[in-house]
């Protein structure tokens, strides 16, 4: 009986806020910026993890069960772990197509959409490149989408979310000017990356991508591919490395072509300095211009 009362108490306590589950930390940060103390946020993946390979732990199922809103990155990036979590969540509210489900990839223009797909091409996403959070100009659009969703689910607090959005956008636009100026200096710089992870950032600022260490998306580097890559990599300044893949290949290539390995965070929490959305981009800029 005492247990039951305690459970009931927990239940009522958590009911006051809108319970949001986000698949990745950057989405969680965005929701916190707009919702502040009116929402509680649970994030499934860690910033240090490979976003394609998140373990579908049962503990996530327990959080999805009580969620009012699930916000995903979309473009099939969560396909390896989210569907089984969702079917086991026994929560109709957050199923795709219901009100408590938001796919943020709907609000940005995806690049590199393949004409046709086959598994022989490696891990390609039919919808296009899913790593769109790394274009800082996409963030305001997404912030607005999150605000709209929170407003539609919690009408009473809509003015509150509006105020938070305005405040966030003001601060963001301010920093964006600084970042634009900073990244502009990198226009035309040649880089190599491990996976097609930073394409949105590179495209935004005209940084030239010479190649990836992976021969195909999701396929580990091969000796033949690396030799070929080295041959065409004259003038490459940086080898961009994510935090979760092995770093030996990047170091080997960088040494051969006289470039510098730069470990770039792709998400909030990937490196200790990237504490929130602002510091994520500050850190990327810092690491590329240092």
């Amino acid at each position: 009986m005492r247990w039951f009362v305690f459970l009931l108490f927990l239940f009522s306590l958590s009911f006051a806020q809108l319970r949001v589950v986000a698949t990745y930390p950057w989405i969680g940060e965005l929701v916190k910026e707009i919702g502040k103390e009116k929402v509680s946020v649970y994030v499934i993946a860690k910033g240090t993890e490979d976003p394609h390979f998140v373990v579908p732990k049962p503990s996530h199922i327990a959080k999805l069960r009580d969620a009012d809103l699930l916000i995903i990155q979309g473009a099939s990036i969560e396909i390896g772990f989210l569907p089984p979590l969702l079917t086991q969540s026994n929560n109709p509210k957050v199923q795709p197509g219901r009100e408590g489900f938001l796919d943020l990839s709907q609000f940005v223009e995806l690049i590199e959409k393949p004409q046709s797909v086959s598994r022989a091409m490696g891990d390609v996403h039919p919808e296009g490149n899913p790593h769109y959070q790394l274009d800082p100009h996409n963030i305001p659009k997404l912030a607005r989408a999150v605000k709209e969703k929170l407003c539609s689910m919690d009408k009473n607090n809509c003015p509150y979310y509006e105020t938070n959005l305005k405040d966030f956008l003001r601060r963001w636009e301010e920093r964006l000017k600084v970042w634009d100026k900073g990244f502009e200096k990198l226009r035309g710089t040649k880089v190599i990356q491990y996976h097609k992870l930073y394409d949105y950032l590179l495209r935004r600022y005209g940084i030239e991508l010479v190649g990836t260490l992976e021969p195909l998306p999701g396929i580990p580097p091969t000796a033949k591919h690396i030799e070929e890559l080295i041959r065409k990599s004259q003038g490459v300044k940086f080898v961009l490395q994510d935090v979760y893949h092995e770093k030996r290949t990047a170091q080997f290539v960088a040494q051969r072509i006289g470039a510098k390995v730069v470990i770039l965070p792709h998400d909030v929490g990937a490196v200790p300095e990237a504490k929130d959305l602002f510091s994520l981009f500050e850190e990327i800029l810092k690491r590329l211009t240092q």
Partner: protein, 479 residues
């Protein structure tokens, strides 16, 4: 006179002269006029020609191209589908995948002998059995090609079907619907499905960590596991940690522990006596309950559960060389524990184990050497476990070891304990290479010391090289 004539002559001459000049002038004027007219006509003609040309060109551009049939096509065909199919439902095709499992087996026991091996008090086969066991023959095996379908039915149900093909056979192994929208954390499953008893039972063979099933599953649930028609309801508790409670009502036709069909047994082995009918069980016959919970300690995820199954039992082996049958009831208890330590995105160490205990009571129908029916009471209390350690040490590589043991094998006939072995064990080691999540090459070596042949323990050494491929839209696997 002459003068007058001359003057006249001159006058007339001059007059004539004047006339001539007038004529010349007129002629000249007319010539000019003609030239003017000619020029005008020419200009007119030119203008006309130009006009005609212009008209021709404008006509050319304004007229629709006679060879271009796109408009006609568009009127007839739906452009998006590129076929005459305005009612095409292609967009509603379910997720379809096909999984192929093939292997090479090397074994120290001939296939014929291998089929005859038994596990005393727990497992035996008969001449006319044709099970679906994997890796049955030495050499190459095509274990199965499994068709898998999934799609939402409507806003209320999801439908899943698993249809494994063997070389000569096809089976509707699973076909069930799951609710999408029950409130308060409930979910209902109806159809034929793998029971959620324990940890291993619900896994499809291509999701197994080893090429062979654990001994405890083989002896208590058979080579296909506990797979039944029925209904399941589960409830995910509103706790901050994972807590799932579930109950199943199943038909209970499992050939190793349950069974619904009654039989008729003759008092004489040669059939000359009277028949004693043993009725069918109640149907549905099998009740299953389970509770599962999970929690995280840092990077360590623990999933553990308790399971219980109870039903009546009918086993009919009367048509064999040594006719016997059993009627009674069976209770099965299970405890499972999985602890997975996640090193990073690609590497983990997972410890998994299950203990299963069976309590079976009833009457055995058999014949004494004189050919008379004897019906001793039979009670079986049997239990065992498997435990395995799997290490994914690289994104594409896994190694693992497993130990199987059945250490309780109490079988009593009329209260008298039979002398049966209770140290039945097997161990396996495996290494696998997974180029992607869609292909797998696994090498497994193992020794099984649970098999007996004519009362003597028969050691089975086995090497299996297994290939598994999946194509199409196949959903991700749960934890």
């Amino acid at each position: 006179m002459k003068k007058v004539l001359l003057a006249l002559g001159i006058f007339s001459l001059s007059f004539a002269q004047e006339n001539l000049e007038e004529l010349k002038r007129q002629l000249e004027e007319q010539r000019k006029l003609i030239q003017e007219l000619e020029r005008k006509i020419k200009a007119l003609e030119e203008a006309q020609k130009k006009q005609a040309e212009r008209e021709e060109t404008t006509q050319k551009t304004e007229r629709p191209a006679p060879a271009d049939r796109t408009v006609e096509l568009k009127l007839k065909y739906s452009e998006g589908l590129r076929a005459y199919s305005p009612f095409s439902q292609r967009a509603f095709l379910p997720d379809i995948s096909f999984i192929v499992d093939t292997s090479f087996v090397s074994r120290n026991v001939k296939d014929k002998t291998f089929k005859k091996l038994e596990i005393p008090g727990l497992f035996h086969t008969h001449e006319n059995d044709h099970g679906h066991g994997l890796n049955r023959e030495r050499g190459f095996n095509l274990n199965y090609g499994e068709l898998y379908l999934y799609a939402p039915v409507d806003p209320y149900f999801d439908l899943y079907a698993t249809i494994p093909f063997t070389e000569h056979d096809v089976e509707l192994e699973e076909a069930y619907a799951v609710t999408r929208g029950l409130p308060f954390g409930f979910q209902l499953k109806v159809g034929k499905f793998r029971s959620s008893f324990g940890r291993f039972n619900a896994l499809h063979p291509h999701a197994w960590d080893f090429a062979t099933e654990p001994l405890v599953y083989k002896v208590f649930f058979g080579e296909d596991g506990l797979k039944e028609k029925g209904v399941q309801i589960n409830w995910l508790a509103p706790t901050p940690f994972y807590l799932l409670l579930g109950a199943e009502i199943l038909q209970g036709e499992n050939e190793q522990s349950f069974g619904t069909k009654g039989f008729s047994v003759n008092t004489k082995k040669d059939g000359s006596g009277t028949d004693i009918p043993i009725s069918d069980t109640r149907k549905p016959n099998l009740y299953v309950g389970f509770v599962k919970t999970s929690f995280d300690i840092g990077n360590l995820s623990v999933l553990t559960g308790l399971s219980y199954a109870e039903g009546k039992t009918r086993i009919n082996h009367l048509k064999t060389d040594e006719p016997h049958a059993f009627a009674g009831r069976t209770k099965i208890y299970g405890f499972d524990l999985t602890a997975k330590y996640l090193i990073d995105s690609y590497r983990y160490i997972a410890l998994q184990g299950e203990y299963i205990y069976r309590d079976q009571k009833g009457t055995r129908y058999g014949y004494n050497p004189a050919g008379n029916l004897i019906t001793p009471s039979l009670s079986k209390k049997q239990g065992g476990f498997y435990t395995q350690l799997v290490w994914r040490f690289d994104r594409r590589w896994r190694v693992g070891v497993r130990y199987d043991l059945i250490n309780k094998n109490d079988v009593k006939r009329n209260g008298i304990k039979r002398d049966l072995p209770d140290n039945l064990y097997a161990y396996y080691g495996m290494i696998e290479f997974n180029p992607t999540e869609f292909s797998r090459i696994r090498l497994q070596v193992g020794q099984n010391r649970a098999y007996f042949l004519e009362g003597e323990r028969k050691k089975v050494n086995e090497v299996i090289l297994q290939f598994n491929f999946a194509i199409g839209a196949h959903g991700a696997h749960p934890f």
